[in-house]
């Protein structure tokens, strides 16, 4: 088995290129790979197309840091605090031409990734009929349902998405790219199968036997994974089921401080540019990170895979 372990710096440097389309976490509100968001900013990646099925404040941070050329997504903001100030600033100002927005809904984005994952040429939907999303994003088509002859039955056709990169936080992974994820999945499975290169930020590295002990908890096969990064609390301030509580105060502070460009720059300096990688970020969080750690046990019922 090939050992796919890389440092966060190396994984971002080697596998994310300027101009790539990239999914930064796909579970909507949990398991957002903020450690990779920060490393992308530190490495000064440019012109990324962020494929964003609600990645909480990650997209707003990347936009503010000048890494983003396009957003293909359903939602950009700060889930518990409200609007994304960086997103607003660029879209409401003279520089709006520098950011292309390809509007989607959560479902159409999930379906576009499903089509990408499974080689489906395009995905017909009923959702989005009547919505101006069909006008502001010309990638969609509305056609007649060819199975209905006697009346006009419009359907929305969604083209597939095959992102260059997808980055996910998972509770545990093995060095070869096998992993376990639990809790709500968002569009993680589809994004992981659709993307050309998958980077895992694993809370814990375990032996391949641990992953193989429960193959139903594996979201996509190891051969689709390009790199495994060991990175504790890579999802902070977003939550991870069974491991980390959500740091809502941190999201709120980001919201308040990013209200002005200067405030955002200060925040960026404090939490991203001025820290020594993800270890430095964790060190800056200090005792706060301990208070977020879930310490209780609520174990899944035993499940037996024995064959004899």
């Amino acid at each position: 088995m090939k050992d796919k372990r890389l440092s966060l710096e190396q994984a971002v440097a080697d596998l994310i290129r300027d101009g790539d389309s990239i999914v930064m976490g796909a579970c909507l509100e949990s398991d957002i790979p903020f450690a990779a968001t920060h490393e992308i900013i530190r490495q000064g990646k440019r012109e990324l197309e962020v494929v964003a099925p609600i990645s909480d404040a990650s997209t707003d941070m990347l936009i503010g840091a000048g890494c983003v050329g396009a957003v293909t997504g359903a939602w950009v903001g700060n889930v518990s605090a409200g609007l994304g100030h960086n997103y607003r600033r660029i879209m409401e100002g003279a520089a709006r031409g520098r950011l292309r927005v390809n509007d989607h809904s959560n479902f159409s984005l999930g379906m576009a990734l499903t089509a990408g994952a499974y080689g489906i040429p395009y995905m017909p939907l009923r959702s989005l009929l009547g919505s101006d999303i069909l006008r502001s994003n010309p990638a969609f088509r509305v056609e007649r349902n060819p199975f209905v002859r006697d009346q006009d039955d419009p359907v929305v056709l969604v083209p597939p998405l095959r992102p260059d990169v997808a980055v996910f936080c998972v509770q545990r992974a093995d060095p070869g790219g096998g992993c376990h994820h639990w809790g709500s999945e968002g569009v993680m499975r589809e994004a992981g199968l659709a993307a050309e290169r998958v980077i895992l930020l694993a809370e814990e590295i375990v032996a391949p036997e641990v992953i193989a002990s429960d193959p139903n908890r594996v979201p996509f096969p190891p051969f689709r994974v390009a790199a495994v990064v060991e990175a504790t609390a890579a999802c902070h301030p977003s939550p991870m089921t069974g491991v980390w509580r959500r740091d809502t105060a941190f999201f709120n502070a980001y919201h308040d401080r990013s209200r002005t460009p200067e405030g955002f720059q200060e925040w960026l300096e404090e939490w991203v540019l001025g820290v020594n990688g993800h270890a430095g970020y964790r060190a800056r969080l200090d005792e706060r990170i301990d208070s977020l750690r879930i310490r209780g046990k609520a174990l899944a019922a035993p499940t037996n895979y024995a064959a004899e």
Binding site: C27, S30, L129, S136, V155
Partner: protein, 253 residues
């Protein structure tokens, strides 16, 4: 009848009353989460809650949560899966009611959460649809929760993120949405419902202390009252007790 409640708490209770027992409900964030909890503990003990991150729950989460992905919403879920599966149930017509919020709504119940002032040069860029466009298109009944201000309740939204009755009348159906549409809009002043052949939003019930003229003055179109318009009943003791269990710290006070 309970006498000590905030407007937001009244809105939560009014929203809870829109959920019928045994229904499958697409629960949004914030107020609807509390509304689902109140409904489950009062008149709708067999309701099922769906969350677009990929969860189904019977019992509401224990204690305050800030997003549907928070650990208290994961533990005790009866199904943990992906967005496509739960939103697919919506498109398959298996969801009775869905909640969304919005920045702007018009007299036909179309909702804008994307662009104020046009999408090419927006005056305000809002976060976008999230799942709202899907919930509005595919729920059997849409329930919207809004802040009642004249610049939010407008004659025509500048961008339809989430389809209501579109141009009124049969236009939603003609667009290919063969079911659904707004059943109630719960504001901090009243409850609006579609009425008449045009499906225009009418005043269905006034919250305690509100009067028609004042509400109409805060509405961007010429607001009409529904036949049989009544007052919104204040929260009952049972409803408030349920809300206290869902929101022990009074976050929604």
């Amino acid at each position: 009848m309970h006498h000590d409640y905030s407007t937001r708490e009244l809105m939560i209770v009014a929203a809870a009353r829109e959920i019928r027992d045994g229904e499958v409900v697409f629960v949004g964030m914030r107020l609807p989460m509390a509304a689902y909890g109140v409904a489950r503990q009062t008149h709708a003990p067999n309701a099922v809650g769906l969350y677009e991150c990929g969860l189904a729950r019977h019992e509401p989460a224990q204690g305050m949560i800030h997003t549907m992905g928070d650990p208290p919403n994961q533990i005790g879920a009866v199904w943990a899966t992906g967005t496509v599966a739960v939103m697919g149930l919506l498109q398959a017509g298996r969801v009775d009611a869905g909640f969304i919020g919005g920045a702007e709504i018009d007299r036909f119940g179309n909702i804008n959460t994307s662009y104020i002032g046009g999408w090419t040069k927006p005056r305000v860029k809002l976060p976008g649809s999230g799942g709202a466009a899907d919930i509005a298109a595919m729920s059997r009944r849409l329930l919207a929760i809004m802040s009642h201000e004249k610049h939010r309740l407008v004659p025509r939204v500048s961008y339809v993120t989430s389809a209501g009755y579109l141009d009124g009348g049969e236009s939603r159906h003609r667009a290919g949405l063969t079911w659904g549409g707004p059943a109630a809009v719960i504001t901090d002043r009243c409850v609006l419902r579609p009425h008449g052949p045009e499906n225009e939003l009418h005043l269905a019930s006034l919250h305690p202390g509100q009067d028609f003229a004042e509400v109409a003055a805060h509405t961007g179109w010429e607001l009409k009252a529904m036949p049989g318009m009544a007052g919104t009943p204040p929260p009952t003791e049972a409803e408030m007790a349920a809300l206290r269990r869902v929101d022990p710290d009074g976050y929604w006070r």
